[in-house]
């Protein structure tokens, strides 16, 4: 990964928007940051070939892929037995930030 900083910044931006997570769940849950990190570093990495293809589709199509990305991340979370339902929320949080610029940066950061 050439650009670790971008992914870290991306994770932080996801964290900032979800300050109310623990209040919603009344859980002694601290896994939120872990979940986002796992989805970004590991989930995206597995999807990297597909993400590269999406880049070719252009800005509008990329935004339309948000729901698809969320679904794929949820599948990944299920497979890896991440804690639900927080994992679902984390997948939604990560996916909704997807646009051409973000995708480009993510792919660049993950691509060795």
């Amino acid at each position: 990964m050439k650009n670790k900083t971008y992914l870290d910044e991306f994770i932080i931006s996801c964290l900032e928007e979800n300050d109310d997570q623990s209040e919603q769940t009344n859980e002694k849950f601290i896994g939120w940051e872990s979940l986002i990190t796992i989805l970004v570093y590991q989930g995206f990495l597995i999807l990297l070939p597909e993400l590269k293809e999406w880049l070719k589709l252009g800005a509008v199509a990329i935004v339309l892929k948000r729901k698809g990305l969320e679904k794929k991340l949820i599948e990944y979370a299920e497979k890896k037995e991440l804690d639900f339902p927080q994992a679902e929320k984390a997948a939604a949080c990560v996916s909704k930030r997807l646009d051409e610029e973000t995708l480009k940066n993510i792919v660049e950061a993950l691509d060795k």
Binding site: I30, G31, E81, F84
Partner: protein
Amino acid sequence: MHIRIDAEVKDNKRTILFEDIASHHVNEDQLKQLLKDSVHGNWKVDPKSGAAIGASLYDILNGSGGKLQSLISDAGQTGAELNLNLDIPYGLNSLPFELVKNNTFLLHENNPVIHIIRKVTDRNRYQQREPEPRSLRVLFVACSPIDLPYDSVLNFEKEEDLIQSSVEKLPVDLTIEDSGNLEGIREALIENEIFDVIHITGHSGHDQKLGPIFYMESEIGALEKVTPSMLWEALRDNLPRVLFLSGCSTGKSNKVNETEFFAFQMVKQGISTVLGWGLPVSDTGATRLTIELYKYFGMGKSIAESVSLSRQAMADFYHPWPLLRLFSDNSPLNALIARGQPIRRRHTRKLKYKVLEDSQVKVLADGFVGRRREIQKGVRILRGFEDEDGNAKSGLIIRGPAGIGKSCLAGKLIERFKDKELIVIHGELKAADLLLKLKKLFDRKRILDGLRILKAELEFKDKIKDLFSHVFPELPIMFYFDDFEQNLVPKQGRYEMGPGIIPVLSPLLEALEWSEGKTSLIITSRYPFILEHDGEDLYNKLGEITLMAFRDADLKKKNAELLSILNSDHKEMYLELGHGNPRLLEWIELIAKEEDKYDIDALKKACDNQNEDFIKEYITDILARTEGTEFELFIQKASVYRKPVKASAFNTFGDDALLEKGVDLTLFEKEKASGHEAIYWVMPVIREQQWAKVDEDSQHEMHQEALTFYEQQIATDKEPDLNNLEEAIFHALVSNNIRTACKYSIRLGSHLDQLVLYRDSLKMQLSVAEKITDKVIDEAISEEDENVATLLNNLGMAYKTLGETTKAIEYYEKALRIDLNVFGDQHPKVAIRYNNLGSAYKTLGETTKAIEYFEKALRIFTTVYGENHPNTKTVNQNLEITIQEAKKG
């Protein structure tokens, strides 16, 4: 019963084995679907979903042959407990086997009682353990890093409080680890050796690189990610039988990095039994189940039974009980302690103080200190971390009323900085004290550079700067100024530095700023103060911790040490009077301990609606009074000593028994450093109040007693002791023994001059000289006491050194008057006075007068010593130079 699900899948099926004998097969698709349902975790909040999963799991274990059912029936008939040791392959560990259900959940069955244990290894299958007849030992560690995201900082005090309350009547020794960090656990294990249970509560999670982690605290309360191997390193030398990892999902893995989950790894490393949670768990649910668990452990029930009964007690609250998972290395899950241990009325911890090396800093060695956040904040300030505004502080000030635990907190902080040499100043801050303590330290450590700087002809502030530049970077120091309020003077409702303090404190604060945290300063003071120098607000350079009365959990923990108060019918009143002030509570505890001796109604009436200071005074007073007139008078008289003294100081007005009684009542403090005789002093917070009760005549008498004591000390001191000299001068002055004060101020002055503390020397000698009236001079003449003249002469010299020659002449003349009368006009002492006067007049440019005095001196020296004596030669030289100057002028 050992039940294994085969890790290998053959023909899309897995084999289920009972005691390693194949029983039946299960379809892999069925398992996969169940796993998917389990992963989603709906069963956690939805009992119906849980019941459905539980029924499917039952079918999987039971098989079409009904193997599990027949085991249950057999156990039910014999009344034996049924242990289901499950050996589950890694890929299936998310399955919530705790939910296994036939008609009811198996874990809720009463006949037979069924335990579900997740086997990690077979390591200790044949181990035998006999429960010991003693109380259960539990180490409780609550971790709550202050920089966790999402407002997730736990209210650990509430949890500690609940668990403490729940076990206080049980045979459970609960040790609460105050720091929430690994080092704290290590230290607790060194001090206590064995714990049956170590309970770590807090948040846990999964790190991208590290795998499963527990969010513990660093020494400043910041987040520290602890891995299983880090925790194992901390525990390995003193393993508990049970480790309870009360954090989310410590009993469940995610398979991102294919790392085994926390609880599993801890058993694999070597802990026999580990309890963890299968998913995120709510604080309240976890705490309630924990309380039940310790209740049963304390009753001497087996580990398995305790877990089972705790689950059953929570059966009505669906949430936590199925989440708890028990992992084992197949050790017998029998009781941790023998049954039938006596119930306690109260759990208590004995207070035991210790004195930090080479100081009078007293800290609690055993007993509750609390103040975790304050300790962490203190460490953060002293380490030079930036505060919220991005400013690093040069030192720390701990504020709060008397007895609130300022020194205890300072002591705890000092203990955290063992790499630093400690320099302690109690009360009045004086440059001389500080330099002498540094000199002793440098001597001991053979720091030659330091000794050279101390001896150099430099002003105090320059010495401090040089020490900070050349010595302290290699020899980090912790300065600790205790009871600093003694340096303050009230002014318009605020406190300012008393005279002479700023020149000592400001160079230190300035230098501390560029010491980069290597040298530290802690100040404890009852009041905040204004500290300005050259228009700069130096107070802002200090980070501040304000200690308030103990509250909530802290107060409860403190109260747990106060056995007599808690068992008294007047408990409420006592606690109210205690105002959460630890020292006051300890005194009240003494009253509660022997209530019959005191008039409690009168106490209540007198203290009702009174403030803390009044109550403190009242309580200590009745404590002293109740011990009888002899003791009451003893403590009053003993208050004459402002500083700690040896027991012999009190011998003229009381015996050792009275002294020890005072120590027992904590009205006296006692310090016994190894290799030194014990020293005693009346508690500073009550000393003045006790001393004020002594009538004027007796005060005078006591000051003389104290003077005699210090004179004896000075006579036996191998080298001058600054403290003894100062105290001798103090008692001599207040008992109007001016000539004796002169005697010791000469010695002290010379000592201070050696330290190049001319202004301090002058100040001290002047305070004595002010009392030298004509009457004293006449006395000195008639008694032929040369000390008065010597002091006046020295004072003159001090003024001259500081450039105030006219004043110097004034004192030289007074000295001359005495010496002329005592020794006559041909004595060498008189010649010295003449020479000094000559020298002073020469400085003023009055050469005629100077020549006159030099000639007088020369005549005496020539007569007494002859022409070749060095004194004669020196005076002659002075005379010649002056004559030549006169000619030039």
